[in-house]
Amino acid sequence: MEQIQLTGPHGPKPKKTTVSRLGVYAFLFSAAVFFCIPLYVMLITSLKGMPEIRLGELFSLPGDPSFAAWVKAWGEACSGVECNGIQTGFWNSVKITIPSVAISIILGSINGYALSFWRFKGSNLLFGLLLFGAFVPFQVVIFPLIIFLREVGLYGSLTGIILIHTIFGMPIMTLLFRNYFSSLPDELFKAARVDGANFWQIFFQIMMPLSIPVTVVAVILQTTGIWNDYLLGLIFAGRENLPMTVQLNNIVATTFGVREYNVNMAATILTALVPLAIYLLSGKYFVRGIAAGAVKG
């Protein structure tokens, strides 16, 4: 993923396979096994039938692999009294995630730009407060936000949950873009100013095209973050718009008679699929997103 060519002519001479070398690989392989087990168990359980699961062979491959549990999880599994599967949750998550990601990135980039090049009195203080928001436990602000959204009639609506994700995404997005814009050479901005470009001209014509890499990081960070959210969706989205994670938990918690572990695991995989795909496709950008929350500008 990164351009690290390790076995070049500059390195030390290739050593013989020593005991310590074996130890290194033994450690790495056992760690890899530990990390893989849950994914493996999830996958094979979802491909088995219930009689086979009841045999209690957690790790054995399915004798007759079938996607029946996946079909049921997607379209028929019950959460509470409704039996429409996890598909409603999937589409709700799509409807929540796309606008939330777009709006929070647009606002975050404008904030970061303003904080980097257009400092005004009190802008540092504002940024400090916003940053404090990145660390504040949600629990401290949730109740007042419930009251506020109820007052304006947005509690339990799609607009409401999008607004909430925009609010909670703003600190990290602002930080990300601020750090990026601060790293750009000041001359770029000064030259544009001398040419008479104004706030928005510089933003749209110079800064936006330059910020494509950081925007990719932002999209990955926000999409996985919002898709994986549970608490905010549970509280603010309302019955009609419950995201996939909430529905997943409801499906697993709903027990009429026998627990169908294969259906539960299929629903779990389906929920994990989107962030997992993003992770596998994005590679180094994902890691950059992780570090973004931490690097100071």
Partner: protein
């Protein structure tokens, strides 16, 4: 607006600066609203409510510190706080140690490095609900890991922490470490790669064994990475809610209750906002004491540039 600005630019310079300043202020309005409206006013409102008798809806019947007295007399809250400390300390320690080891071993010019990295970090992309549900299934007493090992012949083997109040918190801990230790690995590996190669040459010339170089020279140099990791992990610890709800629901009994869940339960199902807000304020306090001065020093004060 743009038109006037371009033309007026030639006439008077100070005026142009003023105008443009206004559009920068306008652009910053959403930020100001969120920063002040949410992270000051809402937080303040929560704290104020903690001094009132609010039940399902907020009211302003002042009761002083009554809610705090009640809070610290509530066994569920005490258990939650104890759990948080136990879980938090072990979680951070285990993630740091395993993350550091994974990074160091990956830094040994191994083959398939990016493959290993991808495997170590993928759980971090998954939601805590997914994490909780998978581990709940694997820790199922009659069909899960315990059963498999017992069938292999080790009949006294016991691994079903989630049904035992004494060990349930460790079951949650395993799932959490599985999900997050890759994060530390990624940060530490980046840190290791940033270390000057001269250091290694010098250590080799002096004949210092590799493990000692890592422990006594490289590790102290990675202090910033460690701090970053601890901060990110700690934020996750205080917020832990999804994992608990999915994996144990706080049980068995109260054995895996956490402060974050205490607050949510009290402002929703239990309809005791005053008490919930007192608990939320208690959660805010350590964050404020640790993060507040750091933010002020790093970001607010340096206005010179």
């Amino acid at each position: 607006m743009e038109e006037t600005m371009v033309t007026s630019a030639k006439v008077s310079k100070p005026r142009r600066t003023k105008r443009v300043q206004i559009s920068s202020l306008l652009a910053s309005a959403p930020m100001a609203i969120v920063a002040i409206g949410v992270f000051v006013v809402c937080v303040g409102y929560s704290v104020v409510l903690s001094f009132t008798k609010s039940r399902l809806f907020p009211n302003f019947n002042w009761v002083g510190l009554d809610q705090y007295e009640r809070l610290w007399g509530t066994s569920r809250w005490i258990v939650s706080v104890e759990n948080l400390f136990l879980y938090g300390v072990l979680f951070i320690a285990l993630c740091l140690v395993s993350g550091f080891f994974m990074a160091v071993f990956l830094d040994q010019k191994v083959r398939f490095e990016s493959g290993f990295r991808t495997l170590f970090l993928y759980p971090y992309a998954m939601s805590l609900v997914v994490t909780g549900l998978v581990w709940q299934w694997m820790m199922e007493p009659s069909l899960g890991l315990q059963n498999v090992v017992q069938r292999m012949g080790w009949e006294s083997f016991e691994f079903a922490p989630l049904v035992d109040p004494q060990y349930a918190i460790y079951g949650v801990l395993i799932a959490a470490v599985w999900q997050s230790s890759g994060l530390v690995m990624a940060l530490m590996l980046a840190g290791l790669r940033g270390i000057d190669g001269e250091i290694w040459k010098a250590a080799r010339v002096d004949g210092i064994p590799t493990w000692r170089t890592y422990l006594f020279i490289v590790l102290p140099m990675m202090r910033p990475v460690m701090i970053t990791s601890v901060v990110l992990l700690a934020v996750g610890v205080v917020r832990v809610y999804d994992l608990i709800v999915a994996q144990t629901g706080g049980g068995p009994g109260m054995s895996t209750e956490m402060p974050a869940k205490f607050v949510i339960d009290h402002i929703t199902a239990r309809g005791n906002v005053g008490l919930g807000m007192a608990a939320a304020t208690m959660m805010l306090l350590p964050v404020l004491l640790v993060i507040g001065p750091w933010i002020y020093r790093e970001y607010v004060r340096p206005t010179k540039h």
